[in-house]
C-alpha cells in the first residue's frame, strides 16, 4: 500500500502561497481528534504584507470593467463547482454530516454566482442623477472604499467567508481576510481555487491565525479603509476603538445574534453598498 502525500496548508497572499513569516503553525485535527495538518499562524507582519499586496492589486481590480469583474467572479464559481467533492471533504474535517457540508458548498457557489451578476448592476441602482436647483449636472456614483479587512465567522467556515468577501470584491475592493479559527481548512482550499479563477493575485488575500493576535492590527492598520467582522463584544470594542484613529468604516455582525447565512437576506445589493463610497460630481450646464 502506498503512503499518500499530505498537503502543506499555505495561506494565499498576493497571488502566492505563503507560510507565516513567524514560522508558527497550529495543528488541525479532524472531528475525531486525528491530526490532519499544520495550519499557519499568521502574524501582524503577515497581515501587513497582505495589506500591501491588496493595495498593489486594488487599483487594477477597481479599474476593470464591470463586465470583466462579473466574468471573473463567475469563473470562481466554476472552479468551486468542479471541486465540490473536495471542498465538501474540507468542511467535513470540522464534523457534521456530509449532506450539511455539501449544502454549504452549494450555497457558497450560488452566492458567488449571485454576486457575479451584480457587478454591472449595482452602480445603476446605488448611484443617481440628482435634480439640483442650480444650473448644474449633478450625479452620484459609487466607488470602492479600498482595502477591506474581513474577519470570518467560526461556524459555516466557507459560506460565512464567501458571504463577506464576495460583496466587498464585487464592489471593486481588495480584501484581507482572516479565516475561521476553528475550521481554517476550507479557506486554505478556497485560496487554491482563487488562484485558478482569473482573479488577479492580491484582490483576495486569505490568512489563517489567532483572532486575538490579529484583531488589534485589523483595527489599527490605517490603510485598511473598512473592516467587516463577525465578532464578539470584546472584539467589537477593540475594532471600534482602533478604527477611530483612522475613521475606518466598520460593519460589525454580533456573533451572539443568530445569523442565517443561507438566507437570501444574507446577500444582495446592500451588502455591496456597505463597502462603497459615494462620490458626487457637479458640472455647470451652459454654452
Amino acid at each position: 500500500m502506498r503512503l499518500h502525500i499530505t498537503k502543506t496548508p499555505k495561506c494565499y497572499v498576493g497571488g502566492s502561497f505563503i507560510r507565516s513569516e513567524g514560522g508558527r503553525v497550529a495543528p488541525l485535527c479532524d472531528a475525531k481528534g486525528t491530526f490532519f495538518a499544520n495550519i499557519p499562524l499568521c502574524t501582524r507582519k503577515d497581515l501587513r504584507n497582505a495589506v500591501e499586496a491588496a493595495a498593489k492589486a486594488g487599483p487594477n481590480w477597481a479599474g476593470r470593467s464591470a463586465y470583466n469583474r462579473g466574468q471573473i467572479l463567475y469563473r470562481l464559481a466554476e472552479m468551486l463547482e468542479a471541486r465540490t467533492p473536495e471542498m465538501t471533504e474540507a468542511i467535513l474535517i470540522g464534523g457534521g454530516s456530509r449532506a450539511k457540508a455539501n449544502r454549504e458548498v452549494v450555497a457558497s457557489i450560488d452566492r458567488i454566482v449571485h454576486y457575479a451578476g451584480w457587478t454591472d448592476k449595482f452602480p445603476a441602482l446605488l448611484g443617481s442623477v440628482n435634480p439640483v436647483a442650480s444650473s448644474h449636472f449633478n450625479f452620484t456614483v459609487t466607488e470602492p472604499m479600498g482595502i477591506i479587512g474581513i474577519i470570518a465567522p467560526d461556524d459555516v467556515p466557507l459560506l460565512g467567508l464567501v458571504s463577506l468577501v464576495l460583496p466587498a470584491i464585487t464592489g471593486g475592493n481588495s480584501v484581507v481576510t482572516l479565516a475561521s479559527n476553528k475550521q481554517p481548512y476550507p479557506a486554505i482550499l478556497l485560496g487554491e481555487m482563487l488562484a485558478t479563477s482569473d482573479l488577479p493575485g492580491g484582490v483576495v488575500n486569505l490568512l489563517t491565525g489567532q483572532r486575538d493576535e490579529l484583531i488589534p492590527t485589523f483595527a489599527s492598520h490605517a490603510h485598511l479603509r473598512g473592516v467587516t467582522a463577525v465578532a464578539d463584544l470584546v472584539e467589537r470594542q477593540a475594532l471600534q476603538n482602533g478604527a477611530a484613529d483612522s475613521v475606518k468604516r466598520l460593519k460589525l455582525i454580533a456573533v451572539e445574534d443568530p445569523m442565517d447565512w443561507y438566507s437570501e437576506s444574507a446577500q444582495g445589493l446592500y451588502e455591496i453598498r456597505d463597502h462603497l463610497e459615494l462620490k458626487t460630481t457637479w458640472h455647470p450646464i451652459g454654452g
Binding site: 442650480s134 444650473s135 448644474h136 455647470p284 450646464i285 451652459g286 454654452g287
Partner: protein, 309 residues
C-alpha cells in the same frame, strides 16, 4: 475650416468663459446695497454716462432738438448734470450739432449701415465720413457678424481699422451685437479682435438695441474682463458701453457696481463707461428727485417721458 480654426485658436489664446460662472458672478452685483450718499453719487454718475439715444425711422429734427435739450438739462434741478452725449442716426447729426456744439454734450452717430451692417464697406465708410463731417464727435459702428461667425476674423478686424481711419479724431464705439454672437466665448473673442486695433479711449459696445436681447450684466461682465485683461497686457485703456435694455436706475447701478469691482475707479467716468439708453435717463432723474424730496414720483411728470399711464 481654416477660418474656424482661427476663432478657435483665438479663444484658446485669450481663454474661454464659463457661462454659469459668469452668471453667478454678476448675480452678486445685484445684491450690493447702494444707499444714501452712495446712491446719489451713483445716480449722478450714471446720468453723466448716458448716451441719450433715439434711433427710429420716425425721428425728426424736432424730436432730436428736444432730445438735445433733455441731454443738456435733464431736469429743472440744476444739481442734475447733463448726459455724456446724444446718439442719433447720421441724417440727424447736423440738427443735433446746431444745439450741442460748444457744450459738454457730445454728438454720437451710429453709422456703417446700422443696425445690420449689411452694406458694402465703401458705403459704410462713406457714411462714417459724412457723419464726422456733419459734426459727430463719436461714431458707433457695427461689426460684420456674418464674417465673424464664418471665422473671417482678419476681415472683421480690417473693417474696424478702416472705420477707425475714417473716424479721424472722432471716438469709435464698436458694437459687437452680442445677441448675434450668442456665446460668451464669442463675445470675449470679438472684444479682443476690436480692442487690438482700437486706440485708448475708444469703446466696445454690446448691442444695437435692435435685436431681442441687449445689454445684460453677463455680457457686460465678459467685456469688462476682456478690457481688464487687455489693459493689464498692453496698458491700453479701452472704454465700455452697454446699450439697450437698461431702463431703470437700479439696473444702471448694478452695471456700475460691475465696473467698480472689475475695472476699478479709473473706469468710473464718462470717458471710460457709457450707457446707451433712452428711458433710463428719466428713471435716474426720478430717483434723484425722490432722494432729494423723499417723495416717490410719477413717471409722466418728467419731460420726454413716454409713459402716459
Amino acid at each position: 475650416m481654416r477660418n474656424s480654426l482661427g476663432l478657435r485658436s483665438l479663444i484658446e489664446e485669450i481663454g474661454g468663459v464659463d457661462q454659469v460662472g459668469i452668471d453667478e458672478r454678476v448675480a452678486k452685483y445685484a445684491t450690493r446695497s447702494i444707499k444714501k450718499h452712495a446712491k446719489v453719487f451713483g445716480l449722478k454718475l450714471a446720468t453723466t454716462m448716458v448716451d441719450l439715444t433715439t434711433l427710429e425711422g420716425k425721428d425728426t429734427p424736432g424730436k432730436v432738438a428736444s432730445l438735445c435739450q433733455k441731454a443738456l438739462r435733464p431736469h429743472d434741478d440744476s444739481d442734475i448734470p447733463p448726459t455724456a452725449a446724444v446718439c442719433v442716426y447720421p441724417a440727424m447729426v447736423k440738427h443735433a450739432a446746431k444745439l450741442l456744439k460748444g457744450t459738454s454734450v457730445k454728438i454720437a452717430s451710429v453709422a456703417t449701415a446700422f443696425p445690420s451692417g449689411q452694406s458694402s464697406l465703401k458705403i459704410r465708410l462713406a457714411e462714417v465720413r459724412a457723419a464726422v463731417s456733419d459734426g459727430a464727435d463719436e461714431i458707433d459702428m457695427v461689426i460684420n457678424r456674418g464674417a465673424f461667425l464664418a471665422g473671417e476674423l482678419a476681415r472683421v478686424q480690417d473693417e474696424i481699422s478702416a472705420v477707425l481711419e475714417a473716424c479721424g479724431e472722432a471716438t469709435l464705439k464698436v458694437i459687437l451685437e452680442t445677441s448675434e454672437l450668442e456665446t460668451y466665448d464669442n463675445i470675449r473673442a470679438a472684444s479682443f479682435l476690436a480692442m487690438r486695433v482700437l486706440r485708448p479711449g475708444d469703446f466696445i459696445k454690446t448691442s444695437t438695441g435692435k435685436t431681442s436681447a441687449n445689454a445684460t450684466l453677463g455680457n457686460n461682465q465678459v467685456m469688462l474682463e476682456a478690457i481688464r485683461d487687455h489693459f493689464l497686457a498692453t496698458g491700453v485703456e479701452i472704454a465700455m458701453k452697454p446699450a439697450g435694455g437698461i431702463r431703470t436706475a437700479k439696473e444702471a447701478l448694478h452695471f456700475l457696481v460691475a465696473v467698480k469691482e472689475t475695472l476699478g475707479d479709473a473706469w468710473l467716468n464718462q470717458d471710460r463707461y457709457r450707457f446707451g439708453a433712452s428711458a433710463l435717463l428719466n428713471d435716474l432723474v426720478r430717483q434723484m428727485v425722490k432722494e432729494k424730496t423723499g417723495v416717490y414720483q410719477a413717471p409722466y411728470t418728467f419731460s420726454e417721458s413716454t409713459t402716459a399711464y
